[in-house]
Amino acid sequence: MLTPLMLGQVVINGISLSAIYILVALGFTLLFGIMRVVNFAHGSFAMLGGYALFYFYGQWELPYLLAAPLAAASVAVASLVLERLVFRLFYQKMFQSMIALLGLDMAITFTALLVWNPYERSVPTPLDGVLSVSGLIIPEDKLVITGVAAVALLAFWLFTRFTRHGLALRAASQDLEIAQIQGVDTTRLYRLAFLIAIFMAALAGGFYAQTYSLSPTMGERPLLMAFIVVILGGMGSIPGVALGGLLLGFSESALSTFYGSAVSTFVSFGVVFLLLIFRPWGILGTPEHE
């Protein structure tokens, strides 16, 4: 029963889904691009971002525009302890990092279960209404996320193109040894990349918790989505995240609406499977040997 209105709604759902996926995957791809670390604890940092926002905005009632970045920043700064104790041991060690960070993910999740309880709860949103435009329904909370994702993507792109630190990050991701010879302080650079990546994960986690729900185990889904997005777009590629997020968001919206969620899941994973066989570096990524 395809009507123009329904098609419009599919597009709107696709945009909002894509925005969430892009936001979640940005930090994940950054860590891989610079440090060759597959951060399987990514979902846990997103979860911590959700709890931080719950306290900063939901409990302590700070203004939202202050609470959202402050919550993400607090998680990122506190996580520097883990950068020193865990992550630093696994930089440029892709396979070891997978297993170690999977363990870290479990440790953070189960600590969260002890600190909080397992029950899912909501994080209040500053905008929880629904906009109706010519019959199309747009939830305001998803509109906010779409805006934030667009700004984050642009900020990321500008940072890596036009700032000194951003250029250093790109240089290190392309050839670490040459970057070091040119005087790039990789320890400081890694710390900066880690801080930005965790900030993005926590920010995305806050929005994710507001859009869906908050619980110690909420990180599983964002991790899975981030992984699919970066495999589609290309590990370590920022434009790849944008493309991967859009592909996944729009295909899920359209396929679930017209064929049901089983077909959507099957196709999403099927595409990832084929891509891993025929183009393992992703659509916009670069092969390791180049």
Binding site: Q9, N117, Y119, E120, I137, S253, S261, A262
Partner: protein, 390 residues
């Protein structure tokens, strides 16, 4: 002299302490618990564990369980099944083979319950499960050592649908969104038949557990012009998101859940968008019989008390009463006494009813009265109390 008095007094204190311990408990008796203690079903799993724990604590506080001339201090051994069949099988193997447990509470959910049968039934381990699949009771073992301690679809669907027909005559077409697993697949035929019997059209769509974004599927269902969404066997977390998202895409009709247990968690997730949501539940917190359990839960635990707490508190009380009456821990004797408890006055639900002969070929299905509740602003009110169909 003074030293002697102190020595005598100390000896008396120590002796009396030992005597009182001996009077309270000769041995430990452990019940097994298999529940989701991590992952998406954790809230239900903890509800099960906590319901059992409260019932055991009460008996321990009154001096322990007296059976066969001994007094037992009760405890539990819990294993996580992550709400899946493989982990449930591992958990039941450990409980039965390694720990020598003879009485097991759980698992919750059809996949885990079905996978545990092949271990517990040949070993004559008495098991109290929850899960909607008919195969849990209708199987090659004829449910010899297993009881279902919660209503399944077969018991409540027809009553709920009849009630819907009377309370909401404007409803013509129902959209059922169903988890794509054994629990969901068990729910569909029963509920669909019940709706069709009342002359209602049904549209069914499946979703994968773990998914958080239901908007596209809900939109697809809305395009079928459904008047009522039935969330049937969705977990509280999923149901909360569905309630929220179906309102966010502009659905104005009724949203109802004919299944599951617990309303508070759904409201916690959907927030104000839960207003008007109608839900099957297994406990009326305002009932005076429930108050001691509600108070005990609040004293011991944090977070909302979901429906698994009363279900397994009740099941544990039934098991312990059967042990007392059997005056034995032999599982066959206890099983026989559980069957004979028909009509025993349970604390939460009144006279105990076992049924299921027609549907499953045995009377190991509990028949619990249940409630249709509605979220009304910040409160939850009982719209109707219904009795299951045997």
């Amino acid at each position: 002299m003074q030293v002697t008095s102190w020595a005598v007094a100390s000896a008396l204190v120590v002796a009396s302490a030992f005597t009182s311990v001996a009077a309270r408990a000769d041995e430990d008796l452990k019940l097994g618990v298999i529940a989701a203690l991590s992952g998406g079903g954790t809230a239900w799993g903890l509800g099960l564990q906590r319901g059992v724990q409260i019932a055991l604590d009460e008996v321990n506080a009154s001096g322990g369980l007296k059976v066969g001339g001994k007094t037992y201090k009760l405890g539990l051994v819990a294993y996580d099944d992550q709400y899946n069949a493989a982990q449930a099988k591992t958990a039941v193997d450990r409980l039965v083979q390694q720990d020598g447990i003879k009485f097991i509470m759980g698992p919750i959910g059809s996949p885990g319950a079905l996978s545990s049968l092949s271990v517990t039934q040949p070993a004559k381990v008495l098991q109290f499960v929850d899960g909607y699949a008919p195969g849990i009771l209708k199987n090659d073992f004829n449910a010899a050592y297993i009881f279902r301690v919660d209503n399944s679809n077969l018991e409540f669907s027809e009553r709920i649908v009849t009630w819907i027909k009377q309370a909401m005559p404007e409803v013509r077409k129902v959209g059922m969104i169903v988890p794509n697993d054994a629990t969901g697949q068990a729910a569909v035929p029963t509920l669909t038949a019940a709706y069709k019997k009342q002359g209602l059209d049904v549209w069914v769509d499946f979703y994968e557990r773990g998914n958080k974004e239901f908007t596209p599927v809900l939109l697809r269902m809305m395009a079928q012009n459904v008047d009522l969404f039935d969330l049937n066997s969705a977990s509280p977390g999923d149901a909360g998101l569905m309630v929220k998202q179906v309102r966010q895409i502009g659905f104005k009709g009724k949203v109802l859940q004919a299944g599951g247990a617990g309303v508070d968690e759904i409201v916690a997730i959907a927030g104000p968008l839960a207003n008007g949501f109608i839900k099957y539940d297994v406990v009326d917190e305002a009932d005076a019989r429930t108050k001691p359990l509600v108070d005990a839960y609040a004293r011991k635990f944090s977070g909302p008390m979901n429906g698994m707490v009363p279900i397994y508190y009740n099941a544990t009380q039934i098991l312990l009463e059967a042990m007392r009456r059997a005056d034995s821990l032999d599982t066959t004797k206890v099983r026989d006494e559980v069957e004979k408890l028909q009509g025993w006055n349970t604390q939460l639900y009144g006279p105990l009813r076992w049924g299921g002969q027609v549907s499953y070929g045995n009377n190991h299905q509990i028949m619990l009265p249940f409630y249709m509740k509605q979220v009304d602003g910040k409160s939850i009110r009982v719209l109707s109390t219904l009795q299951p169909v045997d």
